[in-house]
């Protein structure tokens, strides 16, 4: 290749790279409603969005661990509606003046379960104390993931937390924890009942019930001065239709609401 030819190729590459970079920055258009939802809501939020009785509602949903989402909102992410898997991150945003306290609503409840890969031996919460040291359990990072915090709460109450600590592999969100179990890399994992339902290659070995069990909640709030679409959506979540969809995915009713 001659020097001129080589130079042309280089120039061409630079132009192509610049164009593709610029194209990537093009804004595809602002949605009417941006929702930040806990990873555990991946199974149900798309259906809820479909069922909202408003035609052509442009919705963008972003999923992550509630603790991570809280940080993103605190750092200025343009979120209209937050639906988290715990009350603490919502309350922190309210304290910081980033969420409207009047709109704080518990929309559903969930249950902590212990799952195992399909062909693995069955274990129970209480039997975890006799797990061999080489075994591993996947747990949401209790520093940021509500399902990890609920699991830690349960293990602390069962007096198993200190013993099991060196065996706990942290996942960045509940989907990551589920993936560890589905791949068979761990003997067990702590997820929500709603996640275990739809995962084909894991088995629910034990459910957290009893006085040591945590009560996972799904809590929502709007940002200050949220658009009408967001208020509309939040109100929709409490209707019978939305609750029926949540129920069909394994979520429980908000505490204090009788199931009709």
């Amino acid at each position: 290749m001659t020097a001129t030819g080589g130079f042309r190729v280089l120039a061409g590459c630079i132009v192509a790279l610049s164009v593709s970079t610029l194209l990537a920055c093009v804004n595809p258009g602002t949605p009417e409603l941006t929702i930040a939802a806990a990873s555990s809501l991946r199974t149900v939020l798309p259906d809820l969005i479909q069922a909202v009785p408003t035609s052509d509602l442009q919705v963008r949903a972003t999923y992550a661990a509630s603790g991570i989402l809280r940080q993103q909102v605190a750092a200025g992410a343009p979120i209209d509606l937050m639906i988290f898997a715990a009350d603490q991150p919502i309350d922190r945003l309210i304290q910081a003046g980033l969420a409207d306290p009047e709109t704080r609503t518990v929309v559903a409840s969930n249950q902590l379960v212990l799952i195992t890969p399909r062909r693995a031996p069955l274990i129970t919460f209480e039997s975890l104390g006799s797990l061999p040291a080489v075994s591993r359990l996947a747990i949401g990072d209790p520093r940021t993931v509500p399902v990890g915090q609920y699991a830690r709460e349960a293990l602390v109450r069962l007096r198993l937390w200190d013993r099991l600590r060196p065996q706990l592999v942290y996942g960045a969100n509940v989907a990551a924890v589920l993936a560890y179990a589905r791949r068979g890399e761990v003997e067990g994992a702590f997820v929500y009942a709603t996640d275990a339902r739809v995962a084909p290659d894991v088995v629910v070995a034990d459910r957290a019930s009893g006085d040591w069990a945590p009560s996972p909640l799904v809590v929502a709030a709007l940002r200050q001065h949220a658009p009408a679409a967001a208020q509309h959506f939040l109100a929709f979540l409490l209707t019978d239709r939305a609750q029926a969809i949540l129920r069909s995915k394994g979520f429980g009713p908000p505490p204090g609401h009788a199931d009709s």
Binding site: R165, Y170, E185
Partner: protein
Amino acid sequence: MPTPDLFPVRLSLEVAGLALALVLPVGVVLAWLQAHRRLAFRTAVDALILLPLVLPPSVVGYLLVIVLGREGPLGRALEALFDLRLIFTPAAAVLAAAIVALPLLVKTVQPAIEAVPAELEDVGRTLGLSPLFLFLRVTLPSSWRGMLAGVVLAFARALGEFGATLMFAGDIPKRTETMPLAIYAAYQVGNDRAAMFYVAVLVALSLLVVLLAARLSPRGLRT
């Protein structure tokens, strides 16, 4: 706020040290072979060695998991034959660090070995000296600066491994949470004090490494 936990610092240094212990003999042998042999598939071997350097760490991590994980072919074999499980252990962190550090060592040591004048080795060979003797008494004394630079760079790379470590060794605080993982975890909870502490330690160590490598490399090419 309590003083930052020193465990990740110790763990990182141990992991990088062990990784280097693995990489040094393997890397030097590979570099020597590449420098001396006129193998037909030398270019292919070259590319393979370079691969972990060029691949994103998440690719390296993913490959490690699917091959050496509990469901992987090698992982299953290891567990069946030796009752050995690598995934989610400190050993996994060492392996991940070693794999990404190897190319750096080889690519720095190989030119240093190639720079040793062929005449010196030829003379040695005509005198009937064994390859090992030649290496220890001719090659090594002439190329030790390049080797040291390679060691130092490889150590720094092993120290800074994040993606593959996170995927293969997992994030287990006080067990596999090395400094890069601890920084990310601290950042995620807003513990800036701890994050800055680990960042400062890593920056200081990396500066040391870079300065050392810079002092060593150019002179390694002098004949």
